[in-house]
Amino acid sequence: MQIDLRTVEIKPLRQTFDHLAERFGDKPATRYQEGTYDIQQTWLYHYRPTWEPDLEIFDERRTRIRMKDWYDFKDPRQYYYGAYTIARAKQQEAADSAFAFAVENGMVEALPERSRELMLQFLVPARHAEWGANMNNMFMSAYGYGTAFEAACNYAAMDRLGIAQQISRIGLALGGEEALHAAKELWLRGASWQPLRRYLEDSFVVKDWFELFVAQNLVLDGLLYPFLYRHLRTLISADGNAFHGLATKFMSDWDSEATRWVDAIVKTAVAESAENKLLVSEWAFDYFGRGTEALAALAVAAFGSDAEAVVGVITDELKARLQKLGIWEGE
């Protein structure tokens, strides 16, 4: 038997704010909608920025992409701050217990030398790449247009800081401070890491935030994540140790979730106009080439004679994804 508790019912004057009623009709809005739509002002800024006097505080001209409604860039995860932090806290809790399980069960000590070396040389230096991804997503949050897009970039930036810190903890578990120093040395001077570092440093001076989104979140992540968290993991678990898998659970989960968001943004931009489609395609093509070069340098060092096959699998997958998004023609 169901019993409905009674509360005094009074009739509201309206269901939502005017700007949401204009978009969706006068019905109760979700917390995502309330916290996102039209919150960034679009006109009347009083003053031009002293740091960029040719443009307004928020200015559509900071990207070459054109949208009639910038709030088409909605987040399929519908993250507002509360939903976002609660989701991440849960993921972090799961990741912490997996990591603790591995450490407590002696998996670090039991790690075969080859696996250990692979992690020290190919996973731990990637913490710097994550820090670069943090900077790039902060840039998109700072200068991107519209709350829907930029707030998700602020969340992504914090995610990347979190992941950089998670990788650092793995480094500390594997070899203490020395492991981190050695990884930084590889990042700064190791031949196999230089193409990636160059890719990132070049991205730091890109001014167009949508181009940067393509360079970082679509192409580079699309190449690096499968490399670090699938192919490297497979290679290491072939040694019979699950440390990599347990210690990087957060990253794999995060990647599949973030990919949904990234693809939704790209799809929306491309669907808007032929001009957008052409621009995004050109960017994707350009960064795909440079990113593949960076990936290949790492793959050769990690996989030796299997490198070509690994790079082939990863790039084919990304090409297929880009094709699905409508920005890759031909094979």
Binding site: T7, V8, I10, P12, L13, F17, D18, H19, A29, R31, E34, G35, I39, Q40, W43, L44, Y45, H46, Y47, P49, W51, I57, Y81, G82, T85, I86, R88, A89, Q92, D96, E109, E117, L120, E130, M135, M138, F139, S141, A142, Y143, T147, A151, N154, A157, M158, L161, G162, A164, Q165, Q166, S168, R169, A173, L174, G175, G176, E178, L180, L188, F204
Partner: protein, 508 residues
């Protein structure tokens, strides 16, 4: 690579260092000055970013954990508040007008703070401040959103909050807050930190949060109280960041002192003017008062701020000159502002009223030197006019706006509360008007910035606010005259509240 796992336990400080600063590197494929183009042009000299002392050490795993816990609690309370019609428990529906002022302005200002800290969180080349600013960036969007989510339920039942997105750039008095934060974000990252991180978060924020949130608690508004308390624990982090940034700049190079002092002077005055709105709320809008604006100013600005400036004296920082004028103004601003809102109430989205005889007595007691002498007679006269059906309205429109703070000319001359204060200056053959010496000085230091100000009165006269006439203005600004504004007595809000509270508390 041969490497032994180090056995010794690392200190928290070292660990944090590895998890933040250790991530960063000097770029070589692109010059650092191109990667970080904006942290030198303001003239602040930094010799060693590594000297930055992290004011708090929070890694992302801990951040998510703490913040998620706070969010769970906050939204559980909000849901229950909404479900049980908690809004009917406030002392009196007049109170809701105070939160209308808050909810239609502050979330937008918080949002701008989020964007400003995103910029700083990308642009500082030092990792310490960069990471701290990133956390504040995401905190600030939290504040904007939790405020909007709290406002959402009030919006369903009361008028005046529904058009906050439309009104933020359009409502004449909102240009005070908007120009304040737009001024800050258009400065460089260091000025931003002094404006918002230090002057606002450290020196002035307690004047917003403590009285306002206590006001909510005193008046039975559990929703507002809850987001307020929840935000306060973030504010504690923000305050330490602002202070650390000031100390860092001052310790890095003696040449930084005059620049920092100039910003502190400017932003203390900008903030003081902006906060006059809170003064009017505290003294006139809360049915159950927490303390007077003057008392709040004494505690949170003069005592707490005084201690802070004594602490900064060893760096050569002086108390800003404007503080003397602000100390005198604390006796006046709330009365002058509420009188302005009353006479121009036809152009706002909240109701006003004349204080009751009891409230007039409270004001007399709280302002023994000024209220009876300068302000009570006016309220008694206006009360008499209302009684005779001739409510006073200043149909002549607003006076000129101050070119800097954008308040209309409603504040009085220091030393003579019977005379409006008005300053003017000529720049490139154009005449500009100011409410005070301090606003004039701010203009004179950066005239090219402030000649850009979009002043509501001028824009209205030029027909840029809907077309020129009042009717067009109302439409343009999403106002329903007489429903969203004017007297609280007889308003839809008053009627609905009485009826709904009756339904909730009686059987008829």
């Amino acid at each position: 690579m041969d490497m032994k796992a180090t056995q010794k336990k690392m200190s928290l400080k070292d660990r944090y260092r590895h998890l933040t600063r250790g991530l960063d590197w000097e770029t070589t494929y692109q010059p650092m000055d191109v990667v970080f183009p904006y942290d030198k042009y303001e003239g602040i000299k930094v010799h060693d970013w590594d000297k930055w002392e992290d004011p708090f050490r929070l890694t992302m795993d801990a951040y998510w954990k703490y913040q998620a816990e706070k969010e769970r609690k906050l939204y559980a309370i909000l849901d229950s508040f909404n479900q049980s019609n908690g809004h009917l428990n406030v002392t009196d529906a007049r109170y809701i007008n105070a939160i209308k002022i808050f909810f239609t302005a502050v979330p937008q200002v918080e949002y701008m703070a989020h964007r400003g800290f995103s910029i700083a969180g990308r642009q500082f080349r030092g990792v310490g401040p960069r990471v701290a600013c990133q956390m504040q960036a995401i905190d600030e969007i939290r504040h904007a959103q939790t405020q909007i989510h709290t406002a959402s339920n009030y919006n369903k039942y009361y008028n005046g909050i529904n058009a906050f997105v439309h009104q933020y750039p359009r409502m004449w008095y909102q240009s005070v807050g908007k120009s304040f934060i737009d001024d800050a974000i258009t400065g460089g990252p260091f000025e931003w930190m002094v404006a918002i991180g230090f002057s606002f978060e450290y020196v002035l924020t307690n004047l917003v949060f403590v009285p306002f949130v206590s006001g909510a608690a005193y008046n039975g508004d559990v929703g507002t109280m809850t987001f307020g308390f929840s935000a306060q624990s973030d504010e504690a982090r923000h305050m330490t960041l602002g202070l650390e940034c000031i100390k860092f700049m001052l310790e890095q190079d003696p040449d930084n002192l005059p620049i920092v002092q100039g910003w502190i002077d400017k932003w203390t005055w900008r903030g003081t003017r902006f906060l006059s709105l809170i003064g009017a709320m505290m003294d006139y809008m809360l049915p159950k008062r927490v303390m007077s604006w003057r008392e709040a100013w004494d505690i949170y600005f003069e005592q707490n701020g005084g201690a802070l400036f004594r602490d900064l004296a060893r760096y050569g920082i002086k108390v800003p000159d404007c503080v003397a004028q602000a100390a005198e103004a604390k006796e006046h601003v709330s009365h002058q502002l509420w009188a302005a809102l009353y006479q121009w109430n036809f152009g706002t989205m909240f109701h006003t009223w004349i204080p009751s005889p009891e409230e007039l007595d409270w004001l007399s007691a709280k302002y023994p030197d000024t209220f009876d002498k300068y302000y009570r007679p006016r309220w008694e006269m206006w009360a008499q006019m209302e009684k005779e059906g001739k409510r006073y309205v200043n149909a002549g429109g607003l006076g000129a706006n101050c070119q800097v703070c954008q308040f209309p000319m409603i504040f009085t001359e220091p030393g003579d509360p019977t005379k409006l204060c008005h300053r003017q200056t000529v720049y490139k053959k154009e005449k500009y008007h100011f409410c005070s010496d301090h606003c004039q000085h701010i203009f004179e230091n950066e005239p090219e910035k402030y000649i850009q100000s979009w002043l509501p009165v001028n824009q209205m006269l030029q027909g840029n606010m809907g077309g020129g006439g009042l009717e067009e203005f109302f439409k343009w600004v999403h106002l329903r005259p007489g429903i969203d504004n004017m007297g609280f007595e007889g308003s839809e809000d008053q009627r609905n509240f009485a009826q709904w509270r009756g339904m909730a508390t009686t059987n008829s």
